[in-house]
Symmetry: C2
Subunit: 426 residues, 2 copies
């Protein structure tokens, strides 16, 4: 008989139960933070219609979309695909359910997305993302920008990383600066250069600006700008920054609100652009100091018109995303995750001496569960020693149920970690 290969697909996560418990716990903690901050959970279908998914996608994203095709269909017949992010289905959801939603709408989405990336280390094709967004109708006050960042900051703290640094910028401010230098016709190209600056040596950035025809004086100012990070005062000192401008005032206000909310690890960083389109105001990325090569672990920003493909109504929003699967994978590999004592995921194993003890074992299990402890009743017909070995592998504590124990009503509970036993009190 032909034996099939049993490995999971490449680019997806498949964990052993103990690691899965750590992952699930992190997911729940993140969800808990989102909930505490007033974000309501929404789950759109994983499959969406092509006209929705392909409307906003383009270029590389479009090539990465997985279409779903029934065995009896051809690709041309198929009208549906797998979502590649939470934002596109959310825009559809907002317009579809608009009359039943209260705006500003605080929405959380924790779910699986799919991208047909080339399989390579750290690149997932199937992955969890944890998104929050606040969506306004017509307008959305700036305060929500800081609230979104503060909520994501609280969520990231659940990873218990050695440190994190949130890098914040404002696209309006960048635009004002470029315009102030008289370079508005080259704005998109300059954003692209700034966006790439971190990944290339400084000379390459200078060369790219020169090649674009940026005057030497402005090249110096832009490279100084790119390297400016720290407090809002550091930015205010730059002669190309107008502290009365809208962009600067927005950034100043976001930083001040973050301070008021106790977000200690946020700083202004003029190198942050977040791609070429989409975002219109606040933008942010997050790094783990010492592990900068991992890239941004949580990013987002403000967008002024989420639903323009579906409606003339304006829905401005601000949001951000944690790439949970990717973070879990790289943090595990770098030893950055607390492992916990998850090796024995069940609290108590009950070990009946023989089949005659099953009923008493079930009763004891029930009373322990009623106190919120998880219980495995070891029901194999093996020798007591073998049953104890299995119990020690799956549970933190073990209780043997034999005739003497049942008659006396006295049970011993054994701590498998220490080997010590004590009378059970229930």
């Amino acid at each position: 008989m032909k034996r099939l290969n049993t490995s999971p697909i490449s680019g997806a996560q498949e964990l052993l139960p103990s690691a899965q418990a750590v992952f699930d716990n992190l997911k729940e903690e993140i969800s808990g933070v989102f909930h505490l901050h007033g974000f309501q959970n929404v789950e759109t279908p994983i499959i969406d219609r092509n006209e929705i998914l392909f409307a906003k996608a383009g270029g590389d994203t479009e090539k990465q979309i997985y279409r779903v095709v029934k065995t009896t269909e051809s690709v041309e017949d198929s009208t549906e695909s797998l979502r590649f992010d939470h934002t596109v289905p959310l825009a559809r959801y907002i317009v579809e359910h608009e009359s039943n939603l209260a705006f500003p709408f605080r929405v959380a989405q924790i779910g699986i997305n799919f991208r047909g990336e080339r399989a390579q280390k750290g690149r997932f094709r199937e992955f969890y993302q944890c998104d929050i967004d606040v969506i306004g109708r017509e307008t959305l006050p700036l305060s929500y920008d800081a609230q979104v960042i503060a909520t994501l900051y609280e969520a990231l703290k659940k990873f218990e990383l050695p440190a994190i640094r949130i890098r914040i910028n404002n696209r309006k401010l960048l635009s004002e600066i470029i315009n102030g230098l008289g370079l508005s016709d080259k704005a998109d190209a300059i954003y692209g250069i700034i966006d790439h600056a971190e990944k290339v040596p400084a000379e390459k950035t200078v060369a790219a600006l020169r090649e674009l025809g940026v005057p030497e004086e402005s090249v110096v100012k832009i490279t100084t700008l790119i390297n400016t990070h720290g407090s809002i005062e550091d930015v205010a000192k730059l002669d190309i920054v107008d502290i009365e401008s809208e962009g600067f005032k927005e950034l100043e206000s976001v930083m001040s609100e973050l301070k008021a909310m106790g977000v200690k690890d946020a700083e202004v960083d003029m190198m942050i652009v977040r791609g070429l389109d989409y975002y219109t105001g606040t933008v942010f990325e997050t790094i783990v100091p010492g592990y900068e090569s991992l890239g941004s672990i949580c990013s987002g920003g403000r967008y002024e018109n989420l639903c323009s493909n579906y409606t003339d109504q304006k829905f401005p929003g601000v949001g951000g995303s944690i790439g949970l699967t990717r973070l879990f994978c790289i943090f595990s590999e770098n030893g950055l995750l607390k492992e916990g004592s998850e090796a024995a995921p069940v609290d108590v194993a009950i070990i009946p001496m023989d089949r005659a003890m099953m009923e008493a074992s079930y009763k004891l299990a029930e009373s322990i569960r009623s106190e919120g402890k998880s219980v495995d009743v070891i029901s194999t017909d093996k020798k007591l020693g073998d049953k104890m070995k299995h119990a020690a592998r799956v549970a933190k504590f073990g209780i043997v149920v034999g005739e003497d124990e049942v008659i006396s009503g006295h049970f011993e509970i054994k701590n498998f970690a220490t080997g010590e036993s004590a009378p059970l009190e229930i």
Copy 2:
């Protein structure tokens, strides 16, 4: 500009936030019950390899599999599809990770599966299923059958249905009876007729048995058998049942263990077959009395060889599944779900009088969150009355933060349901 249709795909669930909260809560409660009973969570990728998914599928299931195809690929190039249940990927998982698992392995899987069903009411193409299984290596004692059923029973109780009835049978017993009647050559066809008996008038069942060439005396015995349900004693009374047979003893033992575990709503039902293959011992279905037309809401059974496509090792198992999305949908429509006070999903809304009150509002929010309550800080620039209206829509309680409150340190908390206010104690 062309406006796109914003409806979700057919055959999938898309809920408003208040209903989503009820759904999420049920999902968490079911997960909690599984955990309490010692089941460990496992999540296999949604996408799996065709050789895995198509190996065990066949007929209708194969036609319903969704293949995933990149935009740049043809269907023939694609080697992957969406899983249609939890069992096939679990079998792959068991063999792949066997050396790192402790057997008997109690495993829970709560996730989304996909089937290309024709879209019709109550049929989902994308849906949550909640599965538990206990998998043994080489052997698996019968006690686990009752434990799986008891765990699913506890989970179903979270729906707070008016009543449930678990109907239990044993495939070995059925087989013994058919063999005892000398009809073993017609066994599969007779199983098919019994399996269908509930959906057709009694005359049709009789006619089908006669047409198959079953002697008249046996037709009477089989129709009597089909209508036998209740206690194990009711089955023992039938003259075609050998109470010394393996099948009868297994069924008797499962019923007796369920009683010991306090599962009150279980009964023997000789009409239960669960399809033609796959199951080899215990089989069960669950109905809601008064709503029989909904069909079985939770089913499963014992199978002797889960992983035969991948290995010569024997992995017997017993498991069952709750079709969460389907149940949630039909229970909602039939008014069977407790709605809860989920209309206002946030605990407390903080309403700053003006922007100068933001910092004080954030501090207050932080202290309320530290007690585990969810807080929305209403940050719109609207009039106080409008902010209060929004607050009452999203939260159960509201606290206005103005200069007087901040100076005095005394805040009033308003219960939006009763309209009453009281001093805030924190």
